[in-house]
């Protein structure tokens, strides 16, 4: 668009934070990245020879991908959520100081022979018949692996999020402590951590200020396009990509039972889904676990726990690979459980 010679253009140019010169030539580091990108289809985060650099905190801080609303007050805490889930935490040649504590994977009890598509379609039909409206709140419990090589977490501290849309269109987002656990899910004591339910942060957003990735689900007829668009997926995403898009949608939007059923119906058409079996999720509820490793074959699995009455009630990201010395596969890297 024409920016012309307006004064805004001049001022914007004067506060441009970009550090790399625009005419910067690609050096060995960038060419090495190109080579690695072209030689692998999996995430090359950190595998491209990008050594962690010292940040202002004196240690390379890798902000790991997480899908929770986070607020200015806890920015420093969130900054501790480091290391990309799909990257090596430690560089080749380094000796791990310790392994990260992670939640015990959900235990699935196999169910009878059924095709994943049929199962999800059946779930969709049951859910759609319930005719429940979308709630005004999105509530979920989240945990994500936070790891720094010299200070690996020794307990599991999930948090609960409550995002409420008020009648005036404003949004209130709250984050609360949800306890301190060992891998088996037993509450721990003796740690200096807020008791469960303690409000850690609250933020209020004026109408239109909350940065939704997904537009309103009202009126959606093409759930594939809706998930691809909001999820920032390419033209041909994997089923695992769709699983993560569903997760990213549900942490910010509430769906009616009809909408949720339509979304499940779309998922039922996707390939590469495995029925793991019946599981009890982190909040003690029974559901069917379905999963896929299509997003990161041989390295991670994306898991959805679904029920015929509520649809997707949980998401888990599980490391299944062999290239990380800080994790023992299978290891849960992050999870969300909606309630």
């Amino acid at each position: 668009m024409n920016t012309g010679n307006d004064s805004l253009a001049r001022l914007m140019s004067g506060i441009d934070p970009a550090m790399t010169p625009p005419d910067s030539a690609l050096g060995e580091r960038e060419l090495a990245l190109l080579e690695r990108v072209q030689s692998t289809s999996v995430h090359i985060h950190n595998q491209a020879g990008l050594r962690p650099r010292g940040t202002d905190n004196g240690r390379a801080a890798r902000i790991r991908r997480f899908r929770v609303p986070s607020f200015a007050v806890v920015a420093s805490l969130i900054a501790i959520l480091v290391v990309a889930a799909t990257s090596m935490s430690l560089w080749p040649g380094e000796t791990p100081l310790a392994r990260a504590v992670t939640p015990k994977p959900l235990v699935a009890v196999p169910i009878g022979d059924q095709q994943p598509g049929s199962l999800l379609q059946s779930m969709s039909e049951s859910l759609g018949a319930s005719n429940q409206p979308a709630a005004s709140r999105v509530r979920f419990q989240n945990w994500a692996l936070a790891f720094t090589p010299d200070d690996p977490p020794q307990s599991i501290m999930p948090q609960r999020f409550d995002i409420t849309t008020l009648p005036d269109g404003s949004t209130v987002a709250e984050r609360r402590a949800a306890g301190n656990f060992d891998p088996a899910g037993h509450q721990l004591s003796g740690f200096d951590y807020p008791s469960p339910g303690t409000l850690l942060d609250r933020q209020t957003y004026q109408p239109g200020q909350y940065g939704y990735l997904f537009s309103s689900p009202d009126g959606v007829t093409d759930w594939g396009t809706y998930l691809r668009t909001g999820g920032g997926l390419g033209a041909h995403p994997s089923t695992g990509d769709y699983f993560t898009a569903v997760k990213n949608l549900l942490v910010e939007r509430s769906l009616s039972s009809t909408q949720h059923a339509e979304m499940l119906a779309f998922l039922s058409t996707q390939p590469d889904i495995r029925i793991d079996g019946t599981v009890t999720d982190r909040l003690g509820r029974t559901g069917i676990s379905v999963s896929t490793d299509s997003r990161d074959p041989g390295r991670t699995r994306d898991v959805l726990v679904v029920t015929p009455s509520h649809g997707v009630i949980a998401y888990e990201h599980v490391y299944t690979g062999t290239d990380r010395s800080d994790l023992q596969a299978p290891a849960v890297i992050d999870y969300d459980a909606w309630f």
Partner: protein, 165 residues
């Protein structure tokens, strides 16, 4: 060839990330993740255009930061560049602009940044924001109007073509 795409766009994407996240290391990671996604797309036979790369980078940044944190990330990058400013006639204006940018919505601010820092045209901004060209114009128009009000002065809109830096 993909190499051409990489050579032509890596620095641009890297600069895009540097403008939106406070850490140079994170910006580098964002660029790396973006081109990984681009390689997958390329292998599927789809074209790779710069606005698409910006959209992917934006999503990667979104993966790292949620809502208020995105604003905080931009705030930190602006604080850094403003703290490095030499005292000049327009220092106060720049500081005011930096603060005013943070008062825009995420999409308005992104439209402004894509237009003035990335130098994108209307159609390209639309792709990057995943909206129609008309919407992109409307978002930018609204953003400029807000900035005018916050800064208390009109912008003189010239007619020369905008373009990539």
């Amino acid at each position: 060839m993909f190499e051409h795409v990489f050579h032509a766009n890596y620095v641009l994407v890297r600069r895009y990330a540097e403008r939106r996240v406070p850490s140079a290391a994170l910006a580098e990671d964002i660029a790396a993740e973006t081109f990984t996604a681009a390689w997958v797309r390329y292998q599927q036979g789809d074209s790779i255009e710069l606005p698409w790369l910006y959209r992917v980078a934006s999503n990667k940044i979104n993966d790292h930061f949620r809502s208020a944190e995105r604003k905080r990330a931009v705030e930190e990058t602006l604080e850094r560049v403003l703290s490095e400013q030499e005292e000049g006639a327009d220092t106060l204006e720049k500081i005011a602009l930096g603060r005013s940018l943070l008062k825009l919505t995420d999409r308005e601010r992104e439209a402004i940044l894509l237009t003035y820092w990335e130098g994108l045209g209307a159609a390209e901004v639309a792709v990057a924001l995943s909206c129609s060209v008309a919407s992109a114009w409307a978002i930018l128009s609204r953003a400029r109007k807000k900035l005018r009000a916050l800064l208390g002065e009109p912008f003189v809109a010239g007619l020369t073509d905008g373009g990539r830096k």
